[in-house]
């Protein structure tokens, strides 16, 4: 299948006082056409930074350190800003976690939605306005024409996120990056937005969905990458990953999922806390919290190895086996 997005050995971070801090370390991933690919991880694991690196929107003083990002085969790393700008909003677009702060508070919704058309195509205002009403309707905004005249603060959270999606989808991009698109929403609205994501991907758009919520990932993703401390620690088809989690972190994460059906008195936990970027462990990022931690885990970073059927894993528990 055709891969819309191909990220190869991407590293990104920023220079602190004396040393270089890598928030994203050697990340490779693929987003095929019409699929939803998920990145799951906790705060500070580098998932948002990866997304921003793809879009070329890393905030100063952060930057891409090495690696390559291919959008439909075109290299984005090192591409002149002007060319990249032409791709943003037309070939690839992004929606953010906070629909409230991600919309300009002093600009009418309609103007914000049609903005991408006005930037990338030479069309009249009427034509642009017409198309923005159309796209708003298609992402499920009722009375779209009336909403176009509203300011963002007059809309509910769910509607705002739909507006964000309409804004991102108006030029029918090849790639949509969604950074925690439902985290700020209520459960019933979250389910609607996830449903919308599925519809969008069935139209051929490749979606890179970033979330901390295993539930969201399980519901919509076709393929999952698990990130921890800046690295991809495991990657597999969604069903495979939830069936046969291999990495101790993934297992811990899945074990700590609480069921609606209830369970034992004491919940499973992962001991310790998420590591700080400034004080990353030398070896495997998870080693300080890992119950199966060995000597080499503290010392060296394990390689990402294939455990069969494209199920990749970065852990010494499996590296040995693969070598044998």
């Amino acid at each position: 299948m055709h891969n819309i997005l191909e990220v190869r050995h991407l590293s990104a971070g920023f220079s602190a006082r004396k040393s270089e801090v890598k928030a994203v370390d050697d990340v490779s991933l693929l987003v095929p056409e019409g699929k939803i690919v998920g990145i799951v991880g906790e705060s500070g694991c580098g998932k948002s930074m990866t997304a921003r690196a793809v879009m070329g929107l890393i905030r100063y003083p952060g930057r891409v350190i090495s690696g390559s990002v291919l959008l439909d085969g075109r290299e984005l790393v090192g591409m002149p800003e002007k060319e990249k700008r032409a791709l943003r909003g037309s070939k690839m677009s992004m929606i953010f976690q906070e629909p409230m702060t991600s919309l300009n508070p002093v600009m009418k919704v309609g103007r914000q939605v049609e903005e991408a058309i006005r930037i990338h195509e030479k069309v009249s205002r009427e034509e642009a306005a017409h198309r923005s009403v159309e796209i708003l309707t298609s992402v499920g905004v009722p009375e779209a024409e009336k909403r176009c005249l509203c300011y963002p603060h007059q809309l509910s959270g769910g509607l705002r996120q739909r507006v964000m999606i309409a804004m991102a989808m108006i030029l029918d991009p090849r790639l949509l990056i969604a950074d925690e698109p439902t985290t700020a929403l209520d459960v019933t609205v979250e389910a609607q937005i996830l449903q919308l994501m599925r519809t969008l991907s069935s139209g051929g758009t490749g979606i890179l969905l970033i979330s901390h919520d295993l539930g969201v990932i399980a519901q919509v993703c076709d393929h999952v990458y698990v990130m921890y401390a800046g690295r991809i620690v495991e990657s597999a088809e969604t069903a495979e990953l939830f069936d046969r989690p291999l990495h101790p972190y993934t297992r811990g994460l899945l074990n700590s999922v609480r069921s609606l059906r209830g369970g034992g008195d004491v919940l499973d936990t992962i001991p310790g806390v998420v590591p700080n970027l400034m004080r990353m462990p030398a070896g495997c990022g998870f080693s300080p919290r890992c119950l199966e931690c060995r000597e080499e885990c503290v010392r060296d970073v394990p390689r990402l190895v294939d455990e069969g059927d494209g199920h990749l894993i970065r852990c010494f528990l499996y590296e040995g086996e693969a070598a044998e």
Binding site: G157, D186, Q195, D213, L214, L253, R258, S259, D265
Partner: protein, 322 residues
């Protein structure tokens, strides 16, 4: 009277919102806590669960209605009378970053309730007590003189919990105590809360939007929608067979962490939550309810009791979900 430790009757809270407009945050809600239980209060944002929780311990004055603590009217007490029972109530907050004064050390933070209620006196004695509390919540005693910003979110929440239990309260309102934390840390805090409850005979009013958290921690649950309670009962039973359509849709909408159990699009609620400024007439859920008939729009459904469960719906669902 009733067997409740803490009971709210017909509590209503309205906030002014601009001219001639009122936010009906909570409308005539009655709620009772049995001693030693954990009561979950569930609902989406803006449903009034936090407001209700605060009214129950007089952290917020109700517009109308009354709260009884051991059958004594809490709301009617004078400031002086309330000061005498105030020690029985505490609260744990959602945001561990905002709920600890950034300019106080851990010792001073935890010591504040001890000093306010004259539980112990003398610097040394207070410090010893603080150290005991830190130990009880799993924060190392070496951190006594550190400031909140030097801790992670989970540890801060532990400090907040230590502060809450310092005065040996009877009732603690937990307002979304884990929703700001990382997934892998949430369970640590939930386990700590269960553990403390067992050791100190506490009663929790546990406010959360996360249905799985509520399922795990609470004995009974109240589901709120737009300032009203629509259903209550033992958590296991309600979750297994919801009687109110809203509860049922809510449970179905939760994204389950199992790719084999994907939510069916046809079983989702449509539309948005109506505004609490101008709530719908009759049953407040009728604008989103696929089963609504004319009666639902006109008549407000009364709370009906069936054994341990209550439901406010003209046409409650039976066990098969119809």
């Amino acid at each position: 009277m009733s067997g409740y430790l803490l009971e709210g009757k017909d509590l209503t809270k309205e906030f002014p919102a601009g001219k001639n407009k009122t936010v009906h945050a909570v409308s005539k809600v009655s709620l009772g806590l049995v001693e030693g239980e954990t009561l979950g209060l569930v609902g989406e944002s803006g449903c009034g669960k936090s407001t209700l929780g605060r009214m129950m311990i007089r952290a917020l004055k109700p517009t109308s209605g009354e709260v009884f603590f051991r059958s004594r009217p809490l709301t009617a007490m004078s400031g002086k009378e309330f000061a005498a029972v105030r020690r029985s109530f505490q609260m744990i907050f959602q945001d561990p970053y905002a709920s600890l004064d950034p300019r106080m050390t851990v010792r001073d933070l935890i010591a504040e309730p001890l000093e306010t209620h004259h539980i112990c006196s003398g610097k040394k004695e207070i410090t010893e007590r603080v150290l005991e509390l830190m130990d009880a919540v799993g924060v190392p005693g070496d951190f006594l003189y550190r400031y909140p910003h030097q801790f992670s979110g989970g540890q801060r929440q532990r400090i907040g919990i230590a502060r809450a239990v310092a005065q040996d309260p009877e009732v603690i309102v937990c307002d979304e105590p884990v929703s700001a934390l990382d997934v892998s840390v949430q369970n640590q805090i939930l386990n700590l809360l269960s553990d403390l409850k067992r050791k100190r005979t506490l009663t929790y009013l546990f406010i959360s939007h996360d249905l799985s958290v509520v399922r795990h921690i609470s004995d009974r649950v109240c589901v709120m929608f737009l300032g009203k309670i629509c259903e209550s009962g033992p958590t296991g039973e309600v979750w297994a067979a919801p009687a109110h359509p809203y509860t049922s849709f809510l449970l179905r909408a939760v994204p389950k962490a199992d790719p084999k159990e994907r939510t069916d699009a046809s079983l989702l609620l449509t539309g948005e939550i109506p505004s609490p400024i101008d709530p719908p007439t009759g049953c407040r859920f009728h604008t989103r309810c696929p089963f609504a008939v004319k009666q639902c729009a006109e008549e407000e459904p009364p709370l009906r009791t069936r054994g341990e469960r209550t439901v406010a719906c003209h046409f409650p669902l039976d066990r098969n979900g119809t």
